[in-house]
Amino acid sequence: MSLFKKRKSKDAMSEAEVIALAKTDVRHFGQLYEAYFNTIFRFIYKRLGGNEAEAGDLCQQTFLKAMANIHRYEDRGLSFCSWLYRIAQNEVNMFFRKQQGNYTVEIEERTFAGMLEEAGINGYMTQESQEILIRLLNDMEQEHLDLIELRFFQELSFKEIADIYNITEANAKMRVYRILEKLQKKWNETK
């Protein structure tokens, strides 16, 4: 009976236990892979604007790096998923750098409108005004674009963004709103 008690099923294992096991034997990484594959694939797919084949490759690369560096992962109160997000974020940025400005990312009109609303750019938007705003957005620094993208186009919470950048939630909020202020200022200058 005690033998059965000692044996824990895979489902009952906590994430921390699975990570500890994966550190000693990478074959246990499979459970983490199964648990987070969809989340990370969706994240990369959306960041690439729906490029399925590239998303597949970058997702595989992300998990390969995570698997090879699992021994370096330390639980500092952040979720394992945010660590994966960070690796995926680096992989995608590396991919964009290789493209040297020749890559276009499609964003949903709905999420774009949400961002404008948050930036205080309200009212009826003609297609032309939208194009000007997109141009203003594209002229921004890539680091700023990353934050805007995560918050509005990926629809991540400030907590999730904070975890990826290893900053506080308040800091993440402040950074995003400062960028929006900049965008609003630029938009007012064009009018």
Binding site: V26, R27, G30, Y33, E34, F37, N38, F41, R42, Y45, K46, G49, G50, E52, A55, G56, C59, Q60, F63, L64, M67, A68, F96, R97, Q99, Q100, G101, Y103, T104, V105, E106, I107, E108, E109, R110, F112, Q130, I134, L137, N138, Q142, L145
Partner: protein
């Protein structure tokens, strides 16, 4: 870097389950990992120290046989 464009056909940019399942393959990941981390064994003729050792052993055997 990348440039944004607005997708105006109200199509949601989210992968379907079928698309995700197409790329989910832990055995391929494990094989890639093995290839990445496996120590490549050098052939003897490419290791100068080992090569020299074998030559010396060969000479010694030859000398012993000639005696």
């Amino acid at each position: 870097m990348r440039k944004f464009i607005v997708n105006r056909n109200s199509k949601k940019i989210t992968p379907s389950k079928v698309q995700m399942d197409r790329y989910r393959d832990f055995s391929r990941l494990y094989t890639d990992y093995e290839l990445l981390t496996k120590k490549r064994t050098k052939p003897i003729y490419k290791d100068p120290k080992l090569y020299l050792l074998f030559v010396i052993i060969g000479i010694l055997i030859l000398l012993l046989m000639l005696q």
